[in-house]
């Protein structure tokens, strides 16, 4: 018996070895045989940098948000020149006091299942986006002024009283205060119009993955989601035949996750992909050409914000010293030597009202040294450690290291810590952070709104990154300006004045104004994006 047993054992082992060898050999052979599928006409292949687990259009943020315009329609939208276009809404009328707005829905507007887009869908979409469970990150920008917003966003309600579907095609919005630019605020894809009856359950909460193809998702944009493998990181879109706008030129859009930027670059170079969601590498120009990353400058800018509530920035001289000690020409050279982003001296850019007369912070190491010596800390030795957060990409890191080195060389400061690749600052040490790298910008082409979101005392930027910064003069100027009509020249003048006042508070190190890169190869046409990161005419994208 043992003999037979022994035999069988031997055979099994041999067979197993043989099988595995065959398997490996087979794979090698297959590898040799396989060639990339011939690039079918008009199939756009996109590399996506993260495994987004949640592609809900109502999230209001995240990398996947960059492709919302592919499959969702917005109330209106801006193009690259900040020109407003109607979309779902064809008309928008304010009341005299700018407190009530009436919007009309395009009568052709339908979902991908052919059902009409109704006022109830608009109301439902907004309510859903405002509810905590959807975690929409930017709903404040859209609906903060709407009556009933605070209750629904605080979790205590499911309805926005301020939004009323007066009939199937008319939406009336009531605001708590007058807002002449409310129509601009909703002209984006941050809370697109979805079929509310499908997306919301009986409690008004969001149905999990209602937008997935196997859940029978219904879409409002030019494309519809036809394939979805979240875990594998792949999605595919095909034209929505019922789309009420122009007929899309692409026959298919494929999005695949490629987390590593170097790999993604190589894949794009090899022709595996045509475009990328957001590719940030320090060698992008060398790798893929200037055209790949080129794009219009959008009203978003990156700066290093100093928190005056934290030591040692409680002393303005320290702040000023640190600012004057940084050679900002070097800063942009260290981070974006070849563009596409450009150095900036002020917050405002690419909106009407950029201040031509704004006086940039000079590079003056001598004065900086003197200022530091005059400060209450008396010099570099007694400064507490400086902590920077938001140092999450190669360019950020280069800039941060450049500044740290400038401070070391010019001021003798050695204790600088930067938190790499950890974008949030919500760790227990957030109390210690004094410098925040972050962007500010505006979704509407308006200088006041731009500053309102960055230096107004109520803004998140002022509250969090500037440590509750409050300059009463600036606040007053901005409040005054915001009541002016969009095209009133005073509106701009007041904003510029506010920005100059902010300059003298020495609270930030200006860095760059952002280009809205195409992130597409030259053969991809129609990839122009607006300040809202959206390809504003997705139906125009084509491969040539």
């Amino acid at each position: 018996m043992a003999q037979i047993k022994g035999d069988r054992l031997a055979v099994t082992r041999r067979t197993a070895l043989l099988m595995s060898a065959t398997a490996l050999g087979g794979m090698m052979a297959m590898g040799a045989g396989i060639r990339p599928a011939a690039a079918a006409d008009q199939v756009l292949r996109v590399a996506h940098p993260v495994f987004d687990m949640d592609w809900s259009p109502l999230r209001g943020g995240g990398a996947h948000q960059r492709w919302t315009s592919l499959w969702w329609a917005a109330p209106m939208y801006f193009d690259a020149d900040s020109k407003l276009h109607p979309y779902v809404f064809t008309t928008w009328e304010p009341s005299d006091d700018d407190k009530t707005w009436t919007f009309t829905i395009d009568e052709k507007a339908v979902f991908s299942d052919g059902s009409p887009i109704t006022a109830a869908d608009v109301k439902g979409s907004w309510e859903l986006a405002a509810m905590p469970s959807t975690k929409n990150q930017r709903i404040n920008q859209l609906l903060a002024g709407v009556v009933g917003y605070d209750a629904i966003t605080g979790g205590s309600g499911t309805e926005l009283e301020g939004v009323v579907a007066s009939d199937d095609r008319t939406v009336v919005v009531t605001l708590t205060a007058s807002d002449p630019i409310f129509f601009m605020r909703i002209a984006n894809h941050l809370a697109p119009i979805v079929k509310a009856s499908e997306a919301r359950d009986d409690n008004g909460e969001e149905v999990t993955e209602w937008w997935a193809p196997d859940a029978g998702g219904v879409f409002s944009g030019p494309f519809k989601l036809v394939e979805l493998d979240i875990d594998g990181g792949t999605l595919a879109f095909e034209p929505n035949e019922n789309f009420f706008g122009p007929k899309p030129k692409l026959t298919r859009v494929e999005i695949r996750t490629v987390e590593d930027a170097v790999t993604a670059t190589a894949l794009i170079k090899s022709g595996e992909f045509d475009a990328h969601t957001e590719l940030v590498t320090s060698t992008i120009i060398e790798d893929l050409g200037a055209d790949f990353a080129a794009g219009p400058i959008i009203p978003t800018s990156q700066h290093f914000w100093m928190d005056p509530s934290k030591k040692p920035f409680d002393d303005p001289k320290v702040r000023q010293a640190l600012i004057l000690a940084v050679d900002r020409n070097g800063l942009i050279k260290a981070s974006f030597p070849n563009g596409p982003h450009q150095k900036t001296d002020q917050i405002l850019n690419s909106v009407p009202g950029v201040d031509e007369a704004f006086e940039p912070y000079p590079y003056d190491p001598e004065q900086a040294k003197q200022l530091l010596a005059e400060s209450s800390y008396g010099g570099p030795e007694r400064l507490p450690k400086l902590m920077m957060v938001g140092i999450s990409s190669p360019a950020n890191e280069a800039a941060a290291q450049f500044m740290a080195e400038q401070w070391r060389q010019n001021l003798g400061i050695t204790a600088v810590e930067m938190k790499p690749q950890q974008d949030g600052y919500s760790g227990p040490d957030q109390a210690n952070v004094q410098i925040f790298r972050d962007d500010v910008g505006t979704r509407v082409p308006d200088a006041v709104n731009y500053l309102w979101g960055s230096i107004y005392s109520g803004s998140s930027n002022a509250q969090n990154k500037l440590g509750g910064y409050k300059n009463d003069e600036i606040d007053a100027l901005l409040v005054e300006a915001s009541a002016k009509a969009a095209d009133d020249p005073d509106r701009i003048a007041l904003a510029q004045k506010a920005q100059r006042l902010f300059r003298d508070d020495y609270c930030f190190i200006p860095w760059y104004q952002q280009a809205m890169s195409r992130w597409a190869k030259t053969n991809v046409k129609g990839m122009e994006k607006n300040l809202d990161w959206q390809v504003f005419h997705p139906w125009n994208i084509e491969l040539v």
Partner: protein
């Protein structure tokens, strides 16, 4: 044997509980507020509204005291409910069950590859001890050992893209019989292969001096049969005991390999969960990780006596 296995399995319970409690506490007290993290990660002016964040936190059940949360977690776990991701709201179980097969297939294949490649090479090196072949094998093993997966991976991949522009780029996951598995498999197996080559070589050199090998030669058994029948089999025993170590190497290597090659497995899930402090996911992965390590240890202990008949002999305690 069954009783032994059951006794070992029972011991897992407190182990797992302790591991979970530790990780839970670290995540809870240390890593900050995941909800805030979600919001503050988004660039630009986000809707930072304390009331809203509080409401979101409450909806996720994150406003309760530590022990209550942990207790709830364990209770849910016992019912097979791993909870939902804080970031995406998806069922952790679903995420894991989508990711685990990828990692498992890759890992098992890597172990297989290791066995198929490393053991023969190790035996060969030992049999040709101190020859050029030995040095070549040992040198390659040390070389593989010295290159971290995160260096080898990108280098290999980009080299491939550069050298063979026509080939399907080995990125992503297409299943076990997809050509794209080759590169990640190789990179993942590098270190275990290096480890096992060295282990096998050392073990063979040791076994070669055993009296029973001399006996086999004295019987006139051909050298190849000596190597296969008399040397290899006893060598397998100590090599198999390295399974736990290989498992750890592979679990850790998988993180880098999956990251580099874009494989939707547990390693990638781990990194994204860690960066987002998505602790339902972190805990589930910890659970799986410790389960793997414990299971492989148990497997080794159970298989050992089957490979080595001597182990069935008395084990003296005090």
């Amino acid at each position: 044997m069954l009783r032994y296995v059951i006794r070992r399995l029972v011991l897992w319970v407190p182990t797992v509980l302790l591991v979970l409690l530790g990780v839970y506490a670290l995540a809870f007290y240390g890593a900050g507020d995941p909800i805030k993290l979600i919001f503050l990660r988004a660039p630009g002016d986000v809707a930072y509204n304390p009331a809203r964040i509080e409401a979101i936190r409450e909806a996720a059940g994150l406003n309760q005291p530590f022990l209550v949360q942990f207790g709830n977690y364990v209770l849910n776990l016992v019912q097979g409910n791993f909870g939902n991701s804080l970031v995406s709201g998806r069922s952790v179980w679903r995420m894991i069950s989508a990711a685990a097969p990828v990692s498992a297939q890759l890992g098992l294949l890597a172990i297989l590859l290791t066995a198929v490649v490393a053991i023969p090479l190790g035996v060969l090196a030992a049999l040709k001890q101190n020859t050029a072949l030995d040095y070549a094998i040992l040198g390659s093993a040390l070389f593989l050992w010295a290159i971290p997966a995160y260096v080898a991976g990108p280098l290999l991949m980009v080299l491939l893209i550069v050298l063979l522009p026509d080939i399907t780029v080995p990125y992503g996951w297409g299943g076990l019989f997809d050509v794209r598995i080759i590169l990640p498999l190789l990179v993942l197996a590098f270190q275990p292969i290096a480890l096992i080559i060295r282990q096998t070589r050392a073990a063979v050199i040791e076994v070669m001096t055993e009296d029973y090998v001399r006996t086999a030669r004295a019987k006139g058994v051909p050298e190849l049969a000596v190597a296969l029948r008399h040397i290899l089999r006893p060598v397998l025993t100590p090599v198999v005991t390295q399974l736990g170590l290989i498992m750890i190497t592979i679990v850790n290597g998988a993180i880098f390999v999956e990251l580099v090659f874009g494989l939707p497995g547990l390693g990638r899930l781990t990194v994204s969960a860690l960066l987002n402090n998505d602790y339902p996911v972190i805990l589930a992965i910890t659970l799986i990780g410790s389960f793997l390590v414990m299971a492989s240890n148990l497997l080794v202990d159970v298989v050992y006596p089957l490979l080595d008949p001597r182990a069935t002999d008395a084990r003296a305690t005090k």
